[in-house]
């Protein structure tokens, strides 16, 4: 009955081989994700430079400031960054520190872009519509649906700028923004600020279309 006798050394060899192959697979996957994180980081840096360039141009050419403003490309980049971060959240998990830190910085970039556009809109009388969207990934049942509605609207109306803010991100500028718009409770999420109006809870597509 030699063949049936438990062969410990064979099992040990197999354990080593399996663990090695398995760790190689995990390492490969992690590296793939890390390279994506660096890609987002690079995007954020580029975006910061581009926004700053726009701001400087705006300040410098105060003779005809409104003629040079074209921020639609920047908005597109901002959206792409947002959707990529969303993807990273799905892949890495919503509590991953690297993703959260990139997301925090993303919120700041969004605020900066929004404030800049608000300024341009007032100075140049541009027809730029802006939605501020407050959501949570963990404490909001209908935020997913609201996200779909806003993505749809954004694609449908090129003049509409949507800035989404995860209320779970803790940074002082975002906290100030939340305070400014009275986002104190999670019960009312999702919250949409559209012009002077505030919509609490899920807002249907039709309602928002009527406002545009």
């Amino acid at each position: 009955m030699d063949r049936r006798k438990f062969n410990g050394s064979r099992f040990f060899l197999v354990f080593i081989l399996t663990t090695f192959i398995f760790l190689m697979g995990l390492w490969f996957g992690q590296n793939m994700l890390k390279s994506k994180l660096s890609e987002i980081e690079k995007m954020q840096n580029d975006f910061r430079t581009e926004t700053s360039t726009l701001e400087v141009e705006y300040m410098f050419l105060n003779q005809k400031p409104c003629s040079i403003i074209n921020s639609s490309e920047l908005s597109k980049e901002l959206y792409q960054m947002g959707s990529r971060l969303e993807f990273m959240e799905e892949s890495y998990g919503k509590n991953n520190n690297d993703v959260l830190s990139l997301k925090g910085y993303y919120s700041l970039l969004e605020m900066r872009h929004w404030l800049f556009l608000e300024n341009v809109r007032q100075q140049c009388n541009y027809d730029i519509k802006t939605i501020l969207y407050f959501y949570s990934n963990v404490r909001c049942d209908r935020c997913d649906e609201q996200g779909y509605v806003l993505t749809f609207l954004r694609n449908e109306y090129p003049n509409l700028n949507v800035y989404s803010f995860d209320v779970d991100i803790d940074n002082s500028a975002l906290n100030m923004l939340k305070e400014h718009f009275n986002i104190n409770s999670f019960d009312n999420l999702p919250v949409i600020i559209f012009g002077n109006k505030t919509f609490e809870g899920f807002t249907p597509l039709k309602t928002l279309q009527n406002e545009l």
Binding site: M1, D2, R4, T18, F22, L26, R84, F87
Partner: protein, 406 residues
């Protein structure tokens, strides 16, 4: 998602471990692939129990008559188990070629085999299901294993007959995988099923420890576990191909598997003493890992179904919010293409499994093309397997009686 990924990672690690263990064992003991040389021709009885097998019985008997083995050492016995069709009449036609045909009241396959075993004077007894066909060299390749007095049974390489429909193609791949598995189990001294189609038994085992268990759903699992329990050897002859007709309907296959898996559960409980270090690989790895495999398979399947249902519900709500105008939110970004580690490893696992099947094909001298069948197998088989096990466990827990079905 975290739970699903963890379960997937655990399943893949264990799958990889098992597959590598099997491959290492196979190549370490490769010399055992060679069959022992025939030193003498044993007196062999081939028993063919048949119940309503009019569509295949003639072909089965004919394949046995074509065996290359001294005729004075070989007896072919058909036991008609009270068939209500023409089985008995068709078998009788072969009497003039020396085939012995018994007929009796229906009592089940194990009962029919025991009926003939009691009347046998052979040294080695082969059972052969009446829907299975042997190849000319099978006996010559298999009987040499009985030169070792501790060998009580020798199993063949069981394959699905013909190409058939999609369900039979899936079974075809499964059986080829089984060809490899049975050889590795033999190398680990852990075969726990001696299939109905053409397993040979040393007659003395029946004399000492009784015939087939007539109360079980799977007499082939019961007798294999009994042989292991008595510390005898079950061998496998990888190049003795036997072809059996696989069920061609979903219901037929479902009933067959329900019987097999329920029978496996019943018999492993009956022989639970085998889960011990005293039985080496069988007690410490092969039998326990079967149960771990069943648990993971069911857990992973239920989790997948749950995630699919929840995902579909959420997708419905999201699309409903934009009046199902999904093109309005569609955007492609190459950045979002990501293959998680468990998928990469899973793919690696499937490739190794394919190579294993290729090894089984090569050693068992099989030249069928299974590339497309393997794809079908990957897509369908695991879902079917989960369903069969799930139902078998429900039947076991609720003590629901399972009907005997081929």
């Amino acid at each position: 998602m975290v739970l699903a990924e963890t379960v997937a990672n655990i399943s893949i690690y264990l799958g990889l471990f098992t597959l590598i263990l099997f491959l290492v064992t196979f190549f370490e003991q490769k010399k055992e692939l060679k069959n022992p040389k025939i030193t003498r021709y044993y007196n062999v009885d081939i028993l063919i129990p048949a119940y309503n097998e009019e569509y295949s019985i003639e072909k089965t008997i004919q394949s046995v008559l074509n065996l290359d083995y001294p005729k004075n050492k070989l007896k072919i016995v058909v036991i008609d188990d009270g068939s209500t069709d023409n089985t008995y009449k068709l078998a009788k036609k072969f009497e003039k070629q020396g085939v012995i045909v018994y007929t009796k009241k229906n009592g089940g396959k194990a009962n029919a085999l025991n009926y003939a075993i009691k009347r046998s004077n052979a040294e080695v007894i082969f059972s052969l299901d009446a829907d299975s066909f042997v190849e000319k060299d099978n006996l010559k390749r298999m009987v040499g294993y009985f030169d070792n007095p501790n060998v009580m049974a020798v199993t063949p390489a069981l394959k699905i007959y013909g190409k058939g429909n999609w369900l039979q193609k899936v079974q075809g791949v499964e059986y080829l995988w089984g060809v490899f598995l049975r050889k590795v189990f033999a190398m680990l001294g852990s075969i726990h099923v001696t299939p109905g189609p053409f397993t040979g038994y040393r007659k003395i085992f029946f004399d000492r420890y009784g015939g087939y268990d007539e109360t079980t759903l799977t007499e082939d699992i019961e007798i294999a576990l009994r042989i292991q329990g008595k510390n005898y050897i079950i061998e496998n002859c990888m190049d003795a191909s036997v072809h059996t007709i696989g069920p061609k309907t979903f219901t037929g296959l479902f009933n067959q598997r329900l019987r097999w898996y329920r029978g496996f559960l019943d018999n492993t409980f009956k022989h639970k003493y085998l889960f011990s270090h005293k039985y080496g690989h069988l007690g410490l790895f092969v039998l326990p890992s079967s149960f771990i495999f069943i648990f993971i398979l069911l857990f992973a399947t239920l989790l997948t179904v749950y995630n699919l249902v929840i995902g579909a519900y959420k997708a419905f709500l999201n699309l409903n919010a934009i009046n199902f105008n999904f093109l309005g939110v569609w955007q492609f970004d190459i950045f979002n293409i990501y293959i998680p580690p468990f998928l990469i490893l899973g793919l690696f696992l499937l490739i190794i499994a394919y190579l294993v099947i290729m090894i089984a094909k090569r050693v068992s001298e099989d030249n069928t093309n299974i590339k497309f069948d393997y794809l079908l197998y990957i897509i369908l088989y695991w879902n079917l397997l989960a369903l069969w096990w799930f139902m078998a466990i429900i039947y076991k827990l609720c003590s629901i009686k399972v009907k005997w079905s081929k």
